[in-house]
């Protein structure tokens, strides 16, 4: 099936949760909804599932409007961030539940429940009730239930957010594979940019109820259409530096370097240059870079990486460095703005130039 949202808006009272969203999700595709909390991810999933009705706009499945169609009649499975199961039923019955309702025969139900339990490593717990399981097992039960339903649309609302680190890693790899074989539209909401990158597929970035960009995940990451998309797709936060372009020179704070080739056709003027933390360097790069002096405000050391928060001229930046980087708070350190990572936005915060050789950064070891 194909799911299309056509100019969908959703207001609750005076609050606008979703603003004029148009989106087409293809059969068998993996789609990530990426955005911070309260950006409208859950609202959008509820609209897709049919749990809520759009205030205006239309939702179409295979070209036919499904607005007003009861949830029971739609082919939708959903997994929530909280572990939602039926506490009074055993794990077996929990998984079997959608098939019991649709009246499948006992043999088929048993076969599918056991297969799903095997896939999700739940076989030893089939006779227990969900509340006697660990959080990870509870969530796997919910995922197994969504899996056996063979739904055309599978919605996962931050399914791994409440799980421990190891389990997340494991499930994150498993999930697209598990659902990928069914040919269903797979929608995955997350607040974490690196999770979107790991899942791949397509990403829609959300901000304040609007879809700011929708496209192949890697494209959205390397060529965000506007500043807000770039900020949504950056964790730790993006560093924004106002720069002046004069001819072939980019300057900031009285220092200038040769502007990257991609900015060649741009008129002179002021631009907002966004630099991801791994392009804000504490050691001089091989090529030319703008060097400014900044004072350290905080450091976060995770072991393999260090996040150094610095302040310069009232602007707060984050630099990501490898290994343990020892600096004291209040130290004045040289910071290098590496033109290899310049995302250049115009005054309206639209992207006008991005590095053509953009390389995705190493995975964020903080896992958050």
């Amino acid at each position: 099936m194909t799911l299309e949202l056509r100019n969908v808006s959703k207001s609750v009272g005076v609050e606008e949760h979703i603003r004029d969203v148009s989106l087409t999700l293809e059969k068998g595709s993996l789609n990530v909804l990426l955005g911070p909390t309260l950006s409208g991810k859950t609202s959008m999933m509820r609209l897709m599932a049919g749990l809520d009705r759009p205030t205006t706009g239309d939702i179409l499945v295979d070209g036919k409007s499904v607005v007003g169609m009861p949830v029971q009649k739609r082919q939708v499975a959903m997994v929530y961030q909280q572990f939602i199961n039926y506490p009074t039923l055993s794990v077996y019955e929990n998984i079997a539940s959608p098939m019991r309702v649709s009246g499948r025969d006992k043999g088929t139900i048993d076969k599918k429940v056991r297969a799903a339990a095997e896939l999700l490593k739940l076989t030893p717990f089939l006779d227990r009730t969900p509340l006697h399981l660990s959080g990870g097992q509870q969530q796997r039960t919910a995922i197994a239930r969504a899996l056996v339903k063979d739904a055309g649309l599978v919605l996962l609302d931050e399914p791994l957010a409440n799980l421990d680190y190891k389990l997340r890693e494991e499930l994150r790899v498993e999930l697209p594979r598990l659902f990928g074989e069914s040919g269903a539209i797979f929608v995955y909401a997350t607040t974490e940019p690196h999770e979107a990158l790991l899942l791949g597929g397509k990403t829609a970035t959300l901000s304040e109820g609007r879809v700011t960009q929708f496209g192949a995940t890697i494209d959205v990451y390397s060529r965000p259409a506007d500043l807000i998309t770039a900020q949504t797709f950056s964790d730790p936060p993006l560093n924004v530096v106002p720069m002046e372009k004069r001819g072939s020179q980019l300057s900031y704070d009285g220092k200038s370097i040769a502007a990257p080739a991609e900015t060649g056709g741009l008129p002179d003027g002021t631009y907002k240059v966004a630099i991801r933390p791994h392009h804000l360097l504490l050691r001089p790069p091989a090529g030319a870079a703008i060097q400014v002096e900044a004072s350290v405000s905080t450091t976060e050391i995770t072991g393999s990486e260090s996040f150094i928060h610095v302040e310069h001229d009232g602007l707060r930046w984050v630099a990501l460095t490898h290994g343990v980087h020892r600096v004291e708070i209040g130290d004045r350190v040289p910071v290098y703005l590496d033109p290899a990572g310049f995302l250049v936005f115009d005054e309206d915060e639209r992207l006008v130039a991005a590095p053509s050789s953009y390389v995705a950064p190493p995975r964020n070891a903080m896992g958050a």
Partner: protein
């Protein structure tokens, strides 16, 4: 001081149990002994009072009548309160909060106020002296109570469970009976207990709305005056038997009662 810790709770329980003990004590005495003077134990132990109550239909039918209308009331209260409580917990509608509070205010008026309108209404409708009359009149205070208790339990169940069930394909009635009611089973138990208890101890409406056919045990007890004065032993035995049903029900819901109180709704 440390080894005297048991003192206060022991005294507390002693004082608490004294009237119950005295009732029990009296029920095994003859009326003459009760009136004769003070004694801690029955000197002339007798179970005659109990035998009389359990063999004389005018006596034991009082219990049967009481139990019939109490059970009837509990069933009506819970089955009407359950959907109402679900609606109050899950849906937003115009004036929902006011309506919910208004339910509580129903409990603020003494039931006696409604004795006369009920009597007149039921007499006119031919309901007078039926078990249903008492059961319905007790809904006056039991349904609001039941809605309040159940709403607390229902709000403790995440709404996502309802939605998951709908997504799984459950229709509302099927979801409600197969998934939801077992989920709040303890809440339903606690609610039923309180309805049972309040209906069981309510005397005024029960006495006013009945005469012969549905006469509750409390009304029977007031009619024991004879030429030889009150039969105190018999009355005490009837009193003991009145405590028994409540005690039995408490035994079954003892583990959930605390939860019901903790919800702050009782």
């Amino acid at each position: 001081m440390k080894h005297r810790r048991w003192l206060v709770p022991t005294l507390y329980i002693l004082f608490l149990m004294l009237p119950v003990y005295w009732l029990l004590n009296m029920s095994f005495k003859t009326t003459n002994e009760i009136l004769g003077g003070f004694s801690w134990f029955p000197a002339d132990f007798t179970v005659d009072s109990y035998v009389k109550i359990l063999t004389d239909p005018t006596w034991y039918m009082g219990y049967v009548n009481s139990i019939i209308y109490v059970v009837l009331n509990t069933v009506i209260s819970v089955s009407f309160a359950l959907p109402a409580a679900y609606a109050f917990s899950r849906y937003r509608f115009l004036g929902d909060k006011h309506l919910f509070f208004w339910l509580l205010t129903n409990r603020m008026a003494p039931p006696a106020v409604f004795a006369l309108p009920f009597l007149q209404l039921y007499s006119a409708m031919g309901l007078f002296d039926t078990h249903l009359a008492v059961a319905l009149s007790h809904c006056l205070f039991n349904i609001p109570l039941a809605v309040w208790i159940l709403e607390g339990f229902i709000s403790g169940v995440p709404r996502e469970i309802d939605e998951t069930a709908y997504l799984d394909g459950y229709s509302f009635p099927r979801f409600f009976t197969k998934i939801f009611m077992p989920l709040i089973g303890s809440g339903i138990g606690v609610t039923a207990f309180f309805c049972f208890m309040f209906s069981w101890v309510e005397l005024l409406l029960a006495k006013t709305l009945t005469s012969v056919e549905a006469k509750p045990i409390a009304a029977v007890m007031t009619r024991t005056a004879s030429t030889s004065g009150y039969e105190l032993g018999l009355l005490a035995a009837a009193g003991v038997l009145t405590i028994v049903p409540g005690a039995i029900v408490i035994y079954f819901v003892r583990n959930y009662i605390a939860k019901g109180f903790a919800m702050g709704r009782v």
